[in-house]
């Protein structure tokens, strides 16, 4: 049995990875500041409470990313011959579950507040000697929790695609979609100012539905990853075109009479096995080695491809 090589991003992607790490640090610092801003202006508004949870929850993906990016580079060892890539998926599953559960809780909480016809009390506050309505400060805090988030999301998306980093992609996608919950919250506060007490609970409800939606998306992704779904593109919409390339490569080998293969994702990388019915027995070891090499060179993500000669393929298995 061979241990996996220590994983490193290919040289040309290292700057992108460093940039992603930097952006995620900025994201962490930013969401902490945003959560503090919301907390200070929260009052007893349900919208602001939900927006606060939203900000705190937005911290989990970048924190998971930072923790995981330290762990997954660790070289495989005797205890963990497949390396530490799965740590990423586990961290991801935990944060997705937190997101989903808290979102569900907030949906219920906001519905109760709506059913109980809670009227949010928003008084005044003195800022630099001026007495102003707290609602204006809430709007400022909400803008701070929205606009930078969208900008960060847009910056992270292309990096996530390049690095084939799904956690980063989901995180960026969530940040980018923050403008919707931000706008709902701001409209909620403005509505309260117009005497529409229900605007507060409705806005809170919309935000919590959005959190559940994000949570469900990530949860699905995390579970699929852990279940060894076939490799998907980072947007998770289609199977990776790389699979087709592997199929073509195997089919083009003259010594291969028939074959079938399977691939799975392990963090950023793909591992897989090809079962091959050889056309002849001569020089088999050399042929296997060269085919393996060809396939592993197709893309940096293909980390290990094992070619296994077999007498025949199982009947129901077609390549």
């Amino acid at each position: 049995m061979k241990k996996l090589k220590q994983f490193e991003f290919p040289q040309e992607l290292v700057p992108d990875f460093e940039k992603a790490k930097r952006l995620e640090w900025i994201t962490i610092a930013y969401f902490i500041s945003s959560a503090i801003g919301i907390y200070l202006t929260m009052g007893n508004s349900q919208t602001m409470k939900t927006a606060w949870y939203d900000d705190v929850l937005s911290l989990t993906p970048p924190v998971a990313f930072q923790v995981a990016s330290r762990v997954f580079m660790k070289p495989p060892n005797k205890e963990f011959p497949y390396g530490y890539h799965r740590a990423v998926s586990i961290a991801y599953l935990c944060s997705a579950l937190a997101l989903f559960a808290l979102g569900a809780f907030l949906v219920i909480d906001s519905s109760i507040s709506l059913a109980k016809t809670e009227h949010p009390t928003i008084g005044t506050v003195v800022v630099f000697g001026h007495q102003i309505w707290m609602g204006y400060l809430m709007i400022v805090a909400l803008l701070w929790s929205t606009i930078p988030s969208v900008i960060l999301g847009r910056k992270k998306l292309p990096l996530a695609k390049k690095l084939h980093e799904k956690n980063l992609y989901v995180d960026a996608d969530m940040n980018k979609a923050d403008w919707m919950s931000g706008a709902a919250a701001i409209l909620g506060v403005i509505g309260v100012g117009f005497g529409w007490w229900w605007a507060d609970s409705i806005a809170a409800l919309l935000i919590s539905v959005d959190i559940v939606h994000d949570g469900f998306g990530s949860l699905k992704q995390a579970v699929f990853d852990l279940m060894d779904q076939i490799p998907k593109t980072v947007t998770n919409e289609e199977s990776d075109p790389l699979l087709e390339k592997i199929r073509e490569t195997l089919a083009s080998q003259a010594w291969v009479k028939d074959f079938s293969f399977r691939m799975r994702e392990n963090g950023h990388i793909y591992l897989g096995e090809g079962f091959v019915v050889p056309a002849h027995q001569e020089n088999l070891t050399e042929l296997i080695a060269s085919t393996t090499r060809t396939i592993e060179q197709l893309d940096w993500r293909i980390h290990e491809f094992v070619v296994m000669p077999v007498r025949e393929l199982p009947k129901d298995e077609s390549a």
Binding site: N44, K116, E118, H119, P120, T121, I122, G123, T124, V125, V126, Q131, W133, G135, Y136, I139, L143, I147, V150, R154, K176, W179, I186, I190, V192, G193, F194, G195, W196, W197
Partner: protein, 163 residues
């Protein structure tokens, strides 16, 4: 929605315009139940409970720090005060049923009724204990007007005269 077209500048501009317009409005924020509108030039129903020196029960109108402030506030909105004496518990329950617009009883910000369906004002004095008045939940125009009055009084009172 397509976000590639950078709608931000337009949206921000619209929001800023809206906020400035609202800031200019004299009746923003508004009350869901129009408490301020009803009270102005009308009757201000106030519940009180004896708690010297904040509220002192006498044979007639109550006196003390808080009743004096309430009288001043009522004058500023041309309202006549109607006083109702009761226990704190009953006053809070009456407030939830909107029997009073305002309750004074030397209540502080850490009162557990804060999480019930009533509205606490900002503390009107800076001291060891944060003293507040209590209003109907979410009647924000009324609360803003009251807090503005209380803030003016706080500024007008010299520090050494504050208890």
């Amino acid at each position: 929605m397509k976000t590639d077209s950078h709608p931000w500048p337009t949206l921000l501009f619209l929001l800023a315009t809206l906020l400035l317009a609202l800031q200019g409005c004299s009746d923003y924020p508004k009350d869901p139940d129009k408490t301020l509108q009803k009270v102005e030039n009308g009757i201000l129903q106030v519940g009180y409970s004896d708690n010297p020196p904040w509220v002192v029960k006498t044979g007639q109108e109550p006196t003390g720090i808080e009743p004096e402030l309430v009288k001043g506030f009522a004058k500023s909105i041309h309202a006549t005060v109607r006083w109702h004496n009761d226990t704190e518990q009953n006053l809070f329950e009456g407030l939830k049923r909107k029997q009073y617009a305002l309750v004074v009883a030397g209540i502080t910000d850490d009162n557990p009724w804060k999480t019930e369906k009533v509205g606490f004002t900002r503390p009107y004095l800076k001291g060891n204990k944060k003293h507040v008045m209590v209003t109907i939940q979410g009647e924000n125009a009324f609360i803003v007007r009251l807090e503005k009055y209380l803030h003016q009084q706080e500024k007008a009172t010299p520090k050494h005269q504050q208890p």
